[in-house]
């Protein structure tokens, strides 16, 4: 009897840890899903850039032409990156699928289900009159203990899979870090070329009255009105460019935090506070700014 009590105490103590690991595993898998979805959003954004670039270059060709009345309609070649984007989209879709399956492993109802099943098993056993009923201590504790054991098995599996996801996300980080520099160059090319091209357009092409109609700025001098409009336009292009590059940065940081979350959960002694802080940091990084 003493041994059973000791066993129950040990099991009950470990149950708190198991519940926490299952809970953290569940939260990590939600963040993993969100980070994967963010990656897919980024590749959608990148796939839109080819047409944006074409449209911008066509506009520049019209605006910088000395005699637009005699020019043919420009048709700049689309810079197609679909072959480069496709394998990356597939890789993040695979990661997203992994997290969707991982969600099932972190389901907190496994313990409850086993508790119900064991209760049903006991009931069936006790219903057989010819068999001696289970001792009361056993029959009251057994369903709960079964739940705790199941949770411990589940928590152990969650730790093992977090170790695998730690290694897997590390590979995604290495490749993203290498790609990010190239995607930054790609975005710089598209938006800097547009901005610089627009800067070289002659001020004579602008109608200050038209600008004033749509502006609340207090300038009266024609040249100032035009220059202020052009400054604003330039700033907006740079802002648009930086917003895209910031999304790349934030995604990279979120991926790194996610990797650390997996690393921490996989440890034998998980620092719960660290995990919670990292999960919160991922949430902030993925917020639309």
């Amino acid at each position: 009897m003493k041994h059973i009590s000791k066993f129950l105490i040990i099991v009950l103590l470990s149950s708190c840890t198991s519940t926490k690991i299952i809970e953290l595993g569940g939260k990590a898998t939600i963040k993993g899903t969100e980070v994967s979805e963010k990656a897919l959003d980024i590749f959608t954004l990148l796939s839109q850039q080819a047409n944006i670039d074409k449209s911008q270059q066509d506009k520049i060709k019209v605006l910088t032409n000395t005699d637009p009345a005699t020019m043919a309609l420009p048709d700049t070649k689309v810079q197609d990156f679909s072959k480069q984007i496709a394998p990356r989209v597939k890789a993040y879709q695979s990661l997203l699928n992994t997290y969707k399956i991982f969600t099932l492993l972190t389901d907190s109802k496994y313990g409850d289900k086993i508790q119900e099943s064991v209760s049903a098993l006991q009931e069936s056993y006790n219903l057989i009159k010819n068999l001696p009923n289970l001792p009361k201590t056993v029959s009251t504790k057994l369903p709960g203990v079964s739940k705790i054991i199941t949770q411990a098995i589940q928590a152990k599996k969650i730790k093992v899979h977090n170790q695998i996801l730690f290694s897997l996300t590390q590979l995604y980080i290495i490749l993203w870090d290498e790609d990010q520099k190239i995607w930054n160059d790609y975005i710089d090319r598209i938006y800097d070329d547009y901005s610089q091209g627009l800067n070289s357009v002659s001020s004579k092409k602008y109608n200050s009255k038209k600008i004033s109609e749509n502006s609340n700025e207090p300038y009266g001098d024609e040249s100032t009105v035009i220059l202020m409009y052009r400054l604003d336009k330039r700033d907006r292009i740079i802002k648009q460019k930086n917003e895209i590059k910031n999304q790349f940065n934030d995604f990279g940081k979120a991926l790194k935090e996610l990797n650390q979350v997996h690393g921490e959960i996989s440890k034998s002694k998980t620092n719960v506070t660290d995990v919670i802080n990292m999960l919160s940091s991922i949430e902030n990084l993925l917020k639309q700014k």
Binding site: K61, T66, T76, Q84, I101, S117, Y125, I164, Q196
Partner: protein, 112 residues
């Protein structure tokens, strides 16, 4: 080498853009729209070359992404196996309940 070429191309594109209207005005004076088109084609060729370098740099990692897909899919399969194992605990208990119910019924029928 590749990075150096990228940098040189980038500088050339930037220089052209900064003086684009003035360069095209000169071209137009020298040879009309035909000369403008020719200059713009040269500029487009510089951009093509720049983007081609980016594509090649990205292509270098394409086969690694294929490996990532395989690794992620393999982890998905392992996860499914773990989920099945957890479900099996429940299934075994349910099966045991069914067996005990059957034993109970047999005992009742046999009047033991």
């Amino acid at each position: 080498m590749e990075e150096q070429l990228k940098l040189t191309l980038s500088q050339a594109i930037g220089e052209f853009n900064s003086n684009r209207a003035a360069i095209l005005l000169l071209a137009h004076k020298a040879g009309g729209q035909a000369a403008v088109i020719k200059v713009e084609q040269e500029y487009d060729a510089l951009r093509d070359a720049y983007f081609e370098i980016l594509r090649r740099q990205l292509d270098k990692n394409n086969h690694l992404y294929e490996r990532l897909i395989t690794a992620a899919n393999s982890e998905t399969e392992k996860l499914k196996a773990s989920i099945n194992q957890l479900n099996n605990i429940n299934d075994i208990t349910n099966l045991a309940t069914a067996v005990i119910n059957l034993v109970g019924r047999s005992l009742t029928v046999l009047g033991i």
